[in-house]
Amino acid sequence: MPTISSPPELRQASPMTDPTSTSAATQPAGPHRYARRARHWSALLWVAPAFATYAAFVLYPMFQSVQYSFYHWDGIGPATPAGLDNWKAIFTQPELLHSVAHAFVLIIFYTVLPVGLGLVAAALIRELRPGPFNTTARVMLFIPQVLPLVAAGIAWTWMYSSDGLVNQVLRAVGLDQHTRAWLGDFTFALPAVGVIGVWVMLGFCTVLLLAGIGKIDPSLYEAARIDGAGRISEFLAVTLPGLRRELVVCTTFTMIAALASFDIIQISTQGGPGYQTMVPGVQIYRLTFLQQHVGQASALAVFLAALVLVVIWPIQRLGREK
């Protein structure tokens, strides 16, 4: 899901958005005070249904995950206390540690490459005249975002197979010796899965950055041109800073997708060959249902959630500096 970004700057003065203002400060004194307070508490009713469902199906399970992580449990029988064993295992068991490392590798493919290529694509589309080619470009690039990730996994697994398109192209250009079963190869399986991520995320980043470029004041470009800036310096001085917010959104969204990835890996490699493409998402699923180590799964799950926050935090901070 798309995530955090900044609210409109224009509302800074409003008491509604300034969290430091307390309700007391805005309350008038006098006979209306009782009516005001009653109206305040009724405001909770507006929020109650939303918060209640959220608390029941997100917050409460999250606390339960934390709770489970301190037990050994197979999910059906009784649970035995485990102390910090499950947590220690995350750092001592190589499979668990490596799956976290793989998730970070995926960030290169889910975030760095799509943002980079997206900037290129957005810049290129921006220069096109409005018309059928312009629309077609946007639409085509965005299609991968619309499909379920499962479909992306299926399509690319077929393309990567020994008889698939990738090897076919290699043979066609005479690079026969480089053909291989990509998803079964120890060196190339993880990057191959990463490319699927590029495919899925590219359209999203392109369209987002395109909209962002559209919001940049053209007079800034004029000023840069007058100053004699070339293409690259214009890009660095005007475009990039102007895209700050879009870049934050893009990076946050794609990083979360990388760290929490499940669908694509489950469909294409199930974590193999060996443990080469194992990621925390798939690991948690396996630990819970195949191995029935619910405590260990929960510890890894809470660790993953904390990891996401730790990774997103600096991006959000960076995006906020003015």
Binding site: M16, L124, R138, I143, I154, M159, F262, A301
Partner: protein, 274 residues
Amino acid sequence: MTTSAIADRLTRTGILLALMLFAIVPLLSMLTTALAAPGSTPQGLSWPSDPHWHNFVDAWSAANFLALFRSSTLIVIGVVPATVAMATAAGYALAQLTVPFGNAIYGLLLVGLTLPVEALITPLYYNLRAMGLLGTRLAIVLPLIGLLMPFGVFWMRAHFLGAEPALTEAAKVDGANNWQTFRRIHLPLATSAWSALSVLFFLATWNQYLLPLVLVDDPAKRTVAGGLGAFQGQYGTDIVLLCAGSLLIILPSLVIFLIFQRNFVKALLQGAVK
């Protein structure tokens, strides 16, 4: 135009075309494979000399397509209106009304934006089992409402922060209470925001895979993505049938997107970077 400008133009168009091709090629490769002879192993991308269009008919029944589609629609009907309604009300309240503990509530909701669903899947499984809901569509609908809520509240709150205070004042002068102000004035003005949100929620629900996989065993009661996963598990080795079935299953989303693509993309960008 000078030659270098033409060359420049060509390179740029070339790069763009390459990226577009990259985006579309996996689907093309699935299409040509779907048309190959049943049970065969085609070589990469090659249009078969004798396209077997009836493979799609076979895949239709093998994938139990109608049931999948119906199930997904039911789940969407269960999730989207409820979530949008609750999120809109909450967003308005957090933006325009003074809610006691409003900061804490909103802060807690924000945490949910970054929570990976895998962190919750284990307790959700046991909770839903205790409630006796495992295997029913409700098992997908209820958690999904909870999971989508943070984004919904964030989105609608961001929109309502921009609500014109003068309108609210005018309404109050006329004697309207909060609810009436909301319903008659601000809600209609928010139409583009909540319709965009509905589109996003539709996509998120339709393409949801992990929740149905874990909570519902019967593929006919899952979402389209969940059903596709089960289809792959059963027919994974018959690549022709798999491609035909996959294409069938993603076709509705693709068609809807192509028809509404202008609104789709606009919807996505509308509030993403307010």
